[in-house]
């Protein structure tokens, strides 16, 4: 893997999905959790996947990795890893890739560590499994990784059970487990959601530092745009199982196209707002994945939606800057958007006057 020429790595993405679909059979019908996602992640690059609960972001990361439940899943489309098709592989065939080539850090370190196994053993397991190390060799490596992820007193910690560690420490252990075999691709599924706010930044700093040092790629799943801002190169915004906008992080924050992304950005509380000011929110609920609305899936909740939005699904189109795509008929900045904007402003001022 590492012997490949660097310029080739520049060109060829490490991970590439084409029209990836993951549907679940449920008693109510087929839930389209991921519905035609095409994306690429280059080596050394980190992509943030942002969306509300139920937007399919977690299922997307697990579909790419092939970590889906055994029963009731339909997965279509292509997933390529290093140019090789892995979308049609069975879990048995994926085993050599899991841990060695790609690994995942889960949301809640409380449930993702085995409560009755010493953490040292949990870290060394993959080393012994994949690299055939003896237990003493593996322990030495584990101790080194514990140092890398800044776990104080690594020798003592290795012999402790998960309940003896704090939440932040447990997540560090999870990261150590994921890094143990030196994967090229790391999936981080809301790695800070279950943690204390004060620890969140530490964990994210640690993740991005390790990614940089080890020249890994990362897919960071989160519902918090604030989190991805400082830690990713690119952002993909998901809504109702689809990617609705994708851009380099800086571009996205300066030049939003999709009203949904704009609404997400507006619902981040800001330090410079006066205290007790009302937080902007998106009215309505995320779409039903069993019976998604026709046309644009965001249209029922979108302030700028028109008739065509409900009828026709907008395709992903290229914005003026490169690498920036979005799916919207009347993107932020278009004439129709401004027209509606003025109407909305007028309406809100009149209600304010009435009040």
């Amino acid at each position: 893997m590492s012997s490949a020429a660097p310029d080739r790595n520049e060109v060829e993405p490490l991970i590439e999905t084409v029209e990836l679909r993951t549907h679940f059979r449920t008693p109510r019908g087929i839930a389209r959790a991921v519905d035609g996602v095409t994306l690429q992640i280059r080596r050394g690059q980190s992509l943030g996947v942002v969306g509300e609960s139920g937007s399919g972001k977690t299922v997307l990361s697990r579909s790419i990795m092939g970590l889906l439940p055994r029963n009731g899943v339909i997965r279509e489309g292509s997933v390529r890893y290093g140019g090789e098709e892995i979308g049609n592989r069975t879990p048995k065939q994926m085993r050599s890739i899991w841990g060695r080539e790609m690994a995942m850090v889960f949301q809640d370190p409380m449930t993702s560590l085995n409560p009755v196994m010493k953490v040292g053993k949990q870290v060394t397991e993959s080393l012994r499994l994949h690299l055939g190390m003896s237990s003493s060799e593996a322990m030495a490596v584990a101790e080194k990784i514990f140092r890398d992820v800044r776990i104080p007193e690594p020798t003592r910690r290795l012999n402790q059970y998960p309940h003896e560690l704090s939440g932040g420490m447990r997540q560090r252990v999870m990261i150590a487990i994921a890094l143990a075999c030196g994967p090229n691709m790391l999936f981080a599924d809301e790695p800070t959601t279950a943690l204390d706010v004060t620890v969140q930044a530490q964990i994210l700093d640690l993740l991005s530092e390790q990614i940089r040092d080890r020249n890994m790629s990362m897919l960071l799943v989160t519902h918090n745009l604030g989190v991805v801002a400082g830690y990713t190169d690119e952002i993909a915004v998901m809504y109702g199982g689809k990617v609705v906008e994708r851009a380099p992080t800086k571009v996205l924050f300066s030049n939003v196209k999709m009203p949904y992304t704009e609404a997400l950005l507006q619902s981040i509380p800001r330090m410079n707002q006066p205290s007790h000011s009302r937080l902007a929110m998106i009215p309505g609920r995320p779409p039903d994945l069993v019976n998604p609305p026709t046309g644009c899936r965001f249209a029922p909740r979108c302030a700028y939606a028109r008739d065509v939005c409900v009828r026709e699904e907008p395709p992903l189109v290229q914005a003026e800057t490169p690498d920036h795509t979005f799916a919207c008929h009347f993107p932020v900045g278009s004439a129709e958007y401004h027209e509606r904007r003025v109407e909305l402003n007028r309406a809100s001022t009149t209600t304010a006057e009435v009040l």
Partner: protein, 292 residues
């Protein structure tokens, strides 16, 4: 700072990890019984089959005395010695029955809880069928049909414990199979067998260990019941057989209550100990679960 943390942690552990005096009393009793069962032939006991006729005392049964601590039965055989020998078969049957139940039922339960799908549907159906038989009737039926050796009686009782053990194992496995640590183990490339043995089994073993003791108590009682009906191990002395001997038709229970009383007492204390220890163990591990 680490030292203060340590001492606080230790104090917590001491406070939590108390099983209590009663538990240890029960364990001591059980250890004593196991010791007796293992080493009966080596212990300085009177022969359980000899007749200690004493012409000065007239016709047996003789009441408990210095010579015969638990008295003798109608054939002047020493009840104490017989009760000690009875521990052997009763405990062996109890232990091997629940072991068989755990090996078969536990394996099926864990596998069906982990893989779900059709395996689960088939095994759940088998469990339901097994549970819908009245167990004592099934045991009576089987033991009256086959040769009643130590092995067959154990297996029959083991068969009856498959369904309850299997269902608990299945439920406990399902509870853990959905936890993320199983997914975490899968995503580092562990095989199903590895996950079941290394990740799930240690977790499932906690609730199962207390069930093992409770189940053994049930098996010992069931063996007693079968023996009382004359359907337990044919050659040999069991507690149930002794109880039956002391409570036959000719008013033995009224005239010589000690013949059944002492085997009953042993059976009672042993089953009580098993139940109590199992129960304490369960609450003890529950507490540990909650702190996680």
């Amino acid at each position: 700072m680490s030292t203060t943390n340590n001492s606080a942690g230790n104090q917590d552990e001491v406070a939590k990890k108390k099983l209590g005096f009663g538990f240890w009393l029960c364990v001591t009793w059980l250890a004593l019984m196991v010791f007796v069962a293992l080493f009966t032939p080596l212990l300085p006991l009177k022969s359980p089959t000899s007749n200690f006729l004493d012409s000065s005392q007239g016709r047996p049964p003789y009441a408990p005395s210095w010579k015969h601590w638990f008295g003798t039965d109608k054939d002047a055989r020493d009840v104490f010695s017989r009760t000690m020998h009875g521990a052997r078969i009763s405990l062996t049957v109890g232990f091997s029955a629940i072991t068989a139940g755990f090996l078969i039922g536990g394996t099926i339960g864990v596998i069906s809880g982990y893989f779900r799908g059709w395996i689960d549907r088939v095994s759940s159906f088998v469990f339901v069928v097994l549970l819908s038989f009245p167990s004592l009737v099934l045991a009576i039926l089987l033991t009256s049909l086959i040769e009643r050796s130590l092995l067959t009686v154990s297996l029959v009782l083991g068969l009856l414990s498959i369904a309850p053990v299997g269902r608990l194992a299945r439920a406990a496995t399902m509870q853990y199979a959905d936890r993320e640590f199983v997914l975490a183990a899968r995503q580092i490339g562990a095989k199903d067998r590895h996950i079941i043995i290394k990740e799930i089994l240690p977790n499932v073993a906690i609730p199962m260990s207390s069930l093992a003791l409770l189940g053994m108590a049930v098996a010992v009682v069931a063996e007693g019941g079968l023996a009382f009906l004359g359907l337990s191990v044919e050659k040999g002395i069991t507690w149930g057989g002794l109880i039956q001997l002391g409570s036959d038709a000719s008013k033995t229970l009224e005239k010589a209550p000690w013949i059944s009383f002492f085997p009953i007492l042993m059976l009672f204390l042993t089953v009580l100990s098993l139940n109590f220890a199992g129960d304490r163990l369960r609450t003890y591990f529950d507490v540990k679960e909650m702190t996680l």
